[in-house]
Every structure is written in C-alpha cells, then in structure tokens.
C-alpha cells in the first residue's frame, strides 16, 4: 500500500473486502470458482444424483464455464483428454458417483499412461452413507488409485479450495497426469466461509522437477561430441514440456537425425530435414534398424515403451544412452542409461545445445536415406499410390495431407488405421496428433476429437477411425449433433478388426477368430444424428469427397471402403529386435 496512513474510508473498504471474501458459499460454488481461477473454460460431463448440487451451481455459471453434455462418461473423459492434448491446458471432467465414476476408469488409465493432465470431479454419496452400499456408491478412490497421479475424497466443503488447488498443480506440473477428486454430496451442499482461492505452487512431498545437474549435461555433451553415429529419439515429453523450440534448436545445431515415438509426432514438422521418421513396431525402417547401429542414443522425453524397443535385450546394446526425462523413475526403468539428464527438457535442452558442436553427419544421414528408399520401394509407394484395386488407408491419408497441407489436427483411434495415419499424416505444427498411445483404447478418437476441437477451436480437426473403434463410442455423435461440433470424421472401413486380423494372418495361420465385424450404415447413422455424410466406394470419388468434407461447415462423416486384408508394414514382430523389422 502506498499511503502510510489509512483513511477511514479505506479501512471500511478493507473491511468490506474482508467481509466479502469470507462470504458463505456452498462447496459447489467454491469448486466452480476454483475452476475459473484456474482458467478452465470447458467442462465435459454428465450429471447424476450424487453430483446434482454441483450441476445446480453450474446453472448460474453457464456464461463463464462451457459445459458439454456428453453421452457417456467415457466419452467425457476422452473429450477431456483431447482438449488437454491440443490446448496444453488441464482437461476437466464431471461425473456422478457409482457407474458415472467407474465409466471414467478407462480414460483415467489412458491419461495416466499417456501423461495427460486432467482433473476429474466425481460426485459421491453423502459422507454418512459411505460404506453402506448406498445407491450408486462405489469405492471410487480405491478403484482409481492405480490409474491416477493423485486422488482425494472431499467430505467437508472447507477442504475444496485447497484440494482443487493441489489437484490442478499436481495434474499439470512435472510429468502430467490425471487427478480425481471425489466430493461427497454433503460437501457440495455445505456452506462454509469462503476465503477465496489461491493456486498451489508447492507441496512439500512433491518435487515436480528434478534438479538440473550441470555435470551430467557436460557428460552428455561430451558423449555427443565424440559420437560418429548419434541418434535422437524423442517422445511426448518435448510437447508436454512446451520445449518444441528448444528441441528444434538442439536438433538443428547438432545436426543429428531424429525419430519420434507415436506421441512425439509433430513436435518438429514431419518434413523437417532432420526428422527421419517414426519409431516402433510399425515405425519407419531406418529409425528401427539404425537404432541398433548408432553409437550414442539420445532419448528425450520418451519412456522406452515395449512397442518402441521391441526385444529389450537386443535393443541398442552397442550404444551409449543419454536419457533426458522429467520423471526420475523412467531412468533405467527399461533401458540402462549411460548418462541420465534429469529435468524438464525445456531447461536441460538449451544447456545441452550450448555445449554440443555443430556437425554435418552426411554419411550417417545417407544411411537413413538408403533405408527410406528401401521402405518407399517395398511399402510406401504401393500404400500411398495404388493404381489398381481397392483403396488403401494410406492413400486416404495422403490425399488428406494434400488438401489440409499438414495444418489439421489428426485424431486417431487404435489399430491399423492409427498406424497408417501416424506413419503418413503430415503434421506442420505441434499438438496436432491426438491418439491413444500407451493404453491403445479403441473408442478414443470420436470423443477425443470433440475435446480436441474445443481445445483448439480455430484449427481443423479430423478424426480418422476404424469401423471397429467407431462403434465403441459412436454415441458421441449425439454430443457432436447437440453442440454442432465442427469435427470431420473419416471412417476407414475394412470390415475387419484389422490389426488383430493382421496378427492372426501372420502368426496364427489365418485363423480369423472373431475379427469379422459387421457395421451399420454409418452414413445413415450420422444422418440420424443430423450429421451429413457420404460413403466412398470408388477411388475416383475419394479426392472430391474429402474436399467436400473439409469444405463443409460443421461436422461431417466420410466412410471410406478400403481394402479388406491389407497389412501394416514395416513391422517389428513381437519378441523380435528392432533390427529384425519386416518389410513384408
């Protein structure tokens, strides 16, 4: 305060402020106030008995908080994930007790394994009914403990501001993750003296960022500078840490070829000259084979998932491994690290960039180019440019690339179409790739696309979904209809659960066990939801249909009948080393 003496009027004002800030509010109002201070604009949810007081309070907040009524809580949480992935903000989800809460579990597990920041609020029965098998009571805290970064049950409204502050802090800091707050109905109703909301910035038992230690950065730089065949592999950590610029600077200065995990896609553009492609089971040929030839492997914000490493005891054994990660538990978890670089890569990468020498690794890059050419000849050419026969998934993605020029957000489900889309989609911008990586949740894409659109309303959002996965959450067409959500849906229909079929073909002697799936008339289904659509059977219609879809205002569903028994290649068969990747 500037004035030394406080006038009487000022004192009155201070008192008035004090009195106002101690006003009695309900737990529900305190919750919504917390969301507003945290910058939340959109909530995905579904009401029910035990969360009614919060929904009653929400009635008066509809101008400040957009609530999207989903058709199933799983849809709600996937939408929250999509929102978080494109916006970089915390996704917020409401669900009621019992079945409402249990329907969140798949999404929580998905968000936990893919490090997506979420705050889920579940209603719970009155505190005095806990443990009585009351109507719609489930032990949500214990059910969700393995699949949340943190969870907490609120039974007293006084706890709400502090608990919400912790929830947001925990969800978005360090390695992000889902947080679930279970609030008993009495706490939602209870009035208490509200002292305002203060965001949290410290929890004594929680260290979101490990201390950056210069000695290891120096050691890492020394290794890189001595390397003849260094190789960068990056993951979603670069995106989660908003370190795209720092990462690009590091890659460009060091001149090292860089490949991405599925969730790292787009952190630097697809067509960046140093971006050598995708890692993993259906990744590109060169990045997989040359993982076992590099001398220094620099892993940045990735966790050596088994779909990336293949057989672990034959993974990069020749290489010195530098691992940059914010989560200390990831260091040495799967792959032994030579130099660990703990910390937020937004902080560690610039330090490393400063120490690495500028290099031109022509021979090494040429090796990648050779492998790329082999892959183009054996796989890519015929996948993207088939001239006869039925349509392929790859050609749909290729034409989409041509039309959107890589500016769209691509949301994918799980299976063959996901691998094809991630392999071939052109991504110019970060946060353009939304998919269920770690958990492989079929049914993810449609609701996630809804959230993705709310997370980045100005961008085109295209969901690419298989005929199987679409039917897992197609009720969310209702959400799209009611809110006129501008998402474009492409169903790549091969009339099979294609990925399982591919495995049955390759490893189970074509014993096609329950992978033959019939579908409804998807275009008619969309029409029932008043969503325009079209089915494409012939190649000649494909480009114009895609153009028409993208030119249409509002939602649109395009079903493309693709060849039935196409396989995704290259492929690292399970139990094989990355260097044993197959081209056919």
């Amino acid at each position: 305060m500037e004035t030394q003496t406080i006038g009487k009027q000022e004192v009155n004002e201070v008192e008035a402020v004090a009195a106002k800030s101690f006003e009695e509010v309900s737990g529900s109002v305190a919750l919504l106030e917390a969301l507003i201070v945290e910058g939340v604009d959109t909530i995905f949810g579904y009401p029910g008995g035990a969360i009614m007081p919060i929904y009653d309070a929400l009635y008066d907040y509809h101008e400040k908080l957009t609530h999207i009524l989903v058709r199933h809580e799983q849809g709600g949480i996937h939408a929250g994930q999509g929102y978080a992935r494109t916006s970089g903000k915390v996704g917020v989800v409401f669900a009621t007790s019992g079945p409402g809460a249990t329907n969140l579990v798949t999404g929580l597990a998905d968000a936990q394994i893919d490090s997506t920041p979420l705050v889920c609020i579940t209603g719970q029965v009155f505190a005095h009914l806990l443990g009585t098998d009351a109507f719609q009571e489930t032990d949500v805290i214990n059910i969700t403990t393995p699949v949340t970064k943190w969870n907490y049950q609120v039974t007293d409204a006084n706890e709400i501001p502090e608990v919400l502050a912790k929830a947001f802090y925990i969800a978005k800091t360090g390695r992000p993750g889902p947080v679930l707050i279970d609030i008993t109905k009495n706490a939602q109703i209870q009035k208490f003296k509200y002292k305002g909301y203060t965001p949290c910035n410290h929890i004594r038992s929680y260290r979101p960022k490990p201390i950056v230690r210069p000695q290891y950065i120096q050691q890492a730089a020394d290794l890189i500078n001595q390397a003849k065949k260094p190789f960068i592999i990056w993951g979603q950590g670069v995106i989660l840490g908003s370190a795209e610029a720092e990462f690009k600077a590091f890659v460009e200065k060091s001149g090292i070829p860089a490949a991405w995990t599925i969730l790292g896609a787009g952190a630097i553009p697809t067509n960046h000259p140093l971006n050598v492609g995708m890692l993993g089971m259906h990744g590109n040929y060169g990045p997989n084979v040359l993982t076992n030839e590099c001398d220094v492997l620099i892993a940045i914000g990735m966790r050596f998932d088994d779909r990336v490493t293949g057989r672990l005891d034959k993974y990069a054994r020749q290489a010195k491994v530098i691992h940059l990660d914010i989560d200390p538990a990831e260091i040495d978890k799967n792959v032994k690290t030579t130099v660990p670089v703990w910390g937020d890569c937004k902080e560690t990468l610039p330090l490393l960039t400063e120490l690495v020498e500028q290099k031109v690794l022509t021979e090494w890059h040429n090796l990648f180019k050779d492998y790329t050419q082999k892959e183009v000849d054996a796989v890519i050419q015929k996948e993207l440019n088939p001239e006869t026969g039925e349509m392929t998934m790859g050609e749909v993605v290729k034409i989409l690339n041509d039309i959107t020029d890589g500016e769209a957000v691509i949301v994918t489900d799980v299976g063959q179409h996901q691998m094809v889309a991630c392999r071939y989609a052109k991504l110019n911008k970060t946060r353009s790739n939304v998919t269920s990586g770690g958990l492989g949740t079929m049914g993810f894409a449609l609701p996630a696309a809804i959230g993705a659109k709310y997370g980045t309303p100005d961008r085109e959002v295209v969901a690419i979904i298989g005929d199987g996965g679409f039917q897992m959450t197609c009720q969310e067409l209702g959400t799209i209809m009611q809110n006129n959500v501008d998402v474009k849906i492409i169903i790549l229909n091969n009339r099979f659960l294609g990925m399982v079929r591919q495995w049955q073909e390759l490893f189970n002697e074509r014993r096609y066990s329950f992978v033959d799936i019939e579908s409804p008339d998807f275009v008619a289904l969309a029409a029932a939801y008043r969503i325009p659509g079209k089915r494409v059977d012939e190649r000649e219609e494909l480009a114009t249909s895609l153009k028409h879809m993208l030119a249409t205002k509002g939602p649109y569903l395009l079903e493309v009948m693709v060849t039935k028994e196409n396989n995704v290649f290259p492929m690292v068969p399970q139990g094989c080393s990355v260097s044993e990747i197959r081209l056919k």
């Binding site: 049950q153 004594r204 038992s205 260290r207 050691q219 290794l223 260091i331 978890k333 130099v339």
Partner: protein
C-alpha cells in the same frame, strides 16, 4: 530414493536382475494421508511381489509417517520399486538397505496356559534364556513377550509349543538405518521451495563413476 552405504554391489547388467535375491528393508517417509498405504501397496502387488513385512507408524516428526517394508528381491527390482514409490505425490523420501545396513527387530507375544507353564516349566529360566518377559499373568493364562530377529521369536514358539501355546502374534519388522543422520534435517529442505541436494530425487549417482564410463 537413496541407497546409503548398501553393501551389495551396484547393479551392472540385466543379468543381475534375475539373480541375487535377498531381503531388502525399504524405508518410506510420507505425509499422513488416507489411501497412501494402498497407493504404496499396489506398487508391489501390481508386479506380483509379496510383501514379507510391513510396518507403518508416525515418525519422530509430527505429521510424517514412516513405513518399514521388507521384501525379498534383487537390488535392480528394489531400486525400480523405490523410484515408483518415491514418485507418489505424498511420499517424501525412500531408502532401501540390506539387512547388514540396518538394526532390526520384531516383537512377538505368546499366550500360554498359566497352569501348564507354572507346573512344567522353569519360567524364570525360560524368560532369561529367551530374553522374554511376562506381560500379563492371570489365573487362566500368561502372556510372554520377546523381541528380536525372526529366529529368536521362532525359537520361543518351538519351546512353548509342547506346553500348549494358545496364541501367538508377531509384529512387522522395524528397522533403524545404521548410517543415517535421521530425517529431521532433511525435512527442512523439503519445506523449502527450492530444495537442496538432500532431496534430489532418485539419487543413485552419488558414486557416479560406477555408472558413467567414456
């Protein structure tokens, strides 16, 4: 997670993961929070690892709890488990030690029939030889108590069994770390916004030369 002067050799390769199982004492300092026991327990159960012994009680510092967990595993596995435990939001610090690095005790209670024991046994000798004491002596039964390692508490079971041991119970293990300055000073570091070296997560490179070679 820290390993303080553990006498096992640092893990050098993947092979070691499969062999060299031994008892490890995991010490966990946590906030006092409902549900945290479950959160820690599932880290073991998820990997189908049996917890041999688990003790939790308030530590010497108000509001902070201390877990003593005993498992039989290789050091490689234990180190990974400890990192997963330390990753939990409400866990302050995790240490692991071999049995050589801790002083540990378990307490046991034995209920026997007073008549039988008084008639047939030289109680005074029994108590002295086993470092036991009588906690309760009633007409109908007597309760002895002894504290020690597993073999010692087991030994008294064997001695009392022929005289109609009615009931027996043994506590979880409590263990004190031989080479530890305690947690009091470290806690102050945790309460700071910018922590010092003491609270660096997952410090295992304090003898960095073992890991890093050019």
């Amino acid at each position: 997670m820290s390993k303080e002067n553990s006498k096992v050799s640092p893990s050098g390769g993947d092979l070691e993961g499969a062999i060299g199982k031994q008892e490890f004492n995991i010490t966990v300092y946590t906030e006092n929070q409902i549900g945290l026991l479950n959160r820690i327990a599932i880290i073991f159960t998820r990997r189908k690892i049996n917890i041999d012994s688990l003790n939790t009680s308030p530590s010497e510092i108000e509001s902070i709890h201390r877990f003593n967990i005993v498992i039989t595993e290789s050091e490689d596995v234990v180190r990974k488990l400890c990192r997963q435990i330390e990753k939990q939001v409400e866990v302050l610090k995790v240490y692991y030690h071999t049995n050589q690095d801790v002083i540990w005790q378990e307490m046991a209670l034995y209920k026997v029939s007073t008549d039988v024991i008084a008639e047939k046994v030289s109680v005074e000798r029994l108590l002295r030889e086993n470092g036991a004491r009588a906690v309760v002596i009633r007409k109908d039964y007597t309760v002895f108590e002894t504290t020690g390692h597993r073999e010692e508490t087991d030994n008294l079971i064997a001695i009392l069994q022929p005289y109609g041991l009615i009931e027996f119970v043994r506590s979880a293990r409590v263990a004190i770390i031989k080479d530890s300055d305690g947690f009091n000073s470290k806690l102050r570091e945790f309460e700071r916004l910018e922590p010092g070296e003491d609270v660096i997560e997952n410090e295992y490179l304090n003898k960095g030369d073992k890991v890093f070679t050019m």
